[in-house]
């Protein structure tokens, strides 16, 4: 993992996008990834909410890093995250009511999204403000990209539309299974296979 202190903030940002992509490489935050990617809209809103929370919690953790004692750090992380998730949840309920209703329990479930707690533990607790911010941006955007890819595939095949707009030709048979739970496992399994294949091709001998 590219977490050494010698890394510049920009490298930290880039790592989140590809080589340390939280969903496709580190396999963190699987629950929202699978549950809400049956449409592109859900995926984008979820990605945005999680990005907001990871940035805020990374900034707060980085500011508090000299005050936090090691044995209570997980508790502090969780409570910080829970606070920002509450803010995001209230904001969504007020401004994007329809989507917030569809996401249901999965907005509050960002609290236990391991990506966020992982970033606080791996980066924010021992890095400065700017580096933590870049790290959070990279991870958040990487998470959003992975969600969107899944959302595009599943919505295209499952409902024949993109962002709610029908795009498939008239005679297209919808693959209903793709918007149902098994489709989520299937799509992510294949996507991870493809990513691993690409990584194996570009770095022969490198462990996948």
């Amino acid at each position: 993992m590219a977490d050494g202190n010698g890394n510049s903030a920009a490298a930290q940002f880039k790592a989140g996008l590809w080589s340390d992509n939280p969903v496709l490489v580190q396999l963190l935050g699987m629950c929202p990834t699978l549950a809400i990617t049956n449409s592109v809209e859900n995926a984008l809103v979820m990605g945005a909410a999680a990005t907001f929370v990871v940035i805020c919690s990374n900034l707060v953790t980085s500011l508090l890093r000299s005050l936090i004692r090691p044995h209570v750090r997980i508790l502090i992380f969780t409570l910080t995250i829970a606070t920002f998730v509450t803010i995001a949840d209230r904001f969504l309920a007020a401004n994007l009511f329809e989507v917030s209703k569809k996401l249901g329990a999965f907005v509050p479930l960002i609290i236990v999204n391991c990506i966020i707690i992982c970033r606080a533990e791996v980066c924010a607790i021992k890095s400065g403000l700017f580096k933590s911010f870049c790290d959070a941006c990279g991870i958040g955007i990487g998470f959003t990209i992975a969600l969107t890819i899944l959302g595009v595939v599943r919505e295209l095949l499952g409902s024949g539309s993109l962002y709610g707009i029908p795009v498939m030709p008239e005679g297209f048979d919808k693959w209903v299974i793709m918007v149902l739970p098994p489709g989520a496992f299937l799509t992510l399994g294949i996507l991870i296979g493809v990513v691993n294949y690409a990584r194996l091709r570009t770095s022969p001998g490198g462990a996948a």
């Binding site: 699987m30 629950c31 509450t86 509050p108 609290i111 739970p181 098994p182 989520a184 296979g193």
Partner: protein
């Protein structure tokens, strides 16, 4: 409220709307701790225990403290729910950990690092949130959280059984590990969809 509807709720939460396979809660331990059957079964039991306790305690806090207190001071205190839920779960896990260490040291060493990780198991927070979202009464809350735990234990144990057999099969290199596990989960989820016929 009859026994019959409670049984339906139990079957619904344990099989038809299985927390792992149809609600996608608790996927991380489902993928991470499902290599050995006995480990998976132990994890399932621990989660069932914690989920039932936290489901009941969070229900009691919401209906016994937050609602009456909010009514008295004239504020809607429901925005405090998430913070309270996660604090309750974390302390429940801590409690279970201390209890096991004191009375079942063997089990405690067998669980190792997975015990504290239950805190971030979204199945538990998810069950508490769903109980709150669907306005269950206390009896339903107990049934639902216990059934959710049983469903989780069932799914993770089946998965571990399949993965033990997978070690002997020739999986393409790019799909090894998580890839093939997710594909197996897809087939498992498809077969669990068959239980939907029981709820007619």
């Amino acid at each position: 409220m009859t026994i019959g509807s409670l049984i339906m709720l139990f079957i619904g939460a344990a099989l038809v709307n299985n927390l792992v396979l149809s609600m996608f809660l608790g996927i991380c331990p489902f993928l991470g701790v499902s290599r050995k059957v006995n480990m998976a079964f132990g994890m399932g039991c621990a989660v069932t225990f914690v989920i039932t306790l936290s489901g009941v305690v969070t229900w009691l806090i919401v209906h016994g403290v937050l609602v009456p207190l909010g009514g008295r001071i004239g504020l809607d205190l429901s925005f405090l729910k998430y913070v309270i839920f996660i604090a309750v779960i974390a302390s429940m896990v801590q409690l279970v950990e201390m209890y096991l260490r004191k009375f079942f040291p063997l089990l405690y060493t067998a669980f190792g690092v997975f015990l504290p990780l239950i805190t971030t198991n979204c199945a538990i927070l998810g069950a508490c949130l769903l109980i709150d979202l669907r306005d269950y009464n206390l009896l339903e809350a107990i049934t639902f959280s216990f059934a959710g735990g049983v469903g989780f234990a069932l799914a993770i144990t089946i998965m571990a059984g399949i993965r033990e057999h997978l070690t002997f099969s020739d999986v393409p290199r790019a799909l090894q590990g998580p890839g093939i596990t997710l594909l197996v989960a897809a087939i498992l989820a498809m077969s669990f969809m068959g239980f939907a016929g029981m709820m007619r």
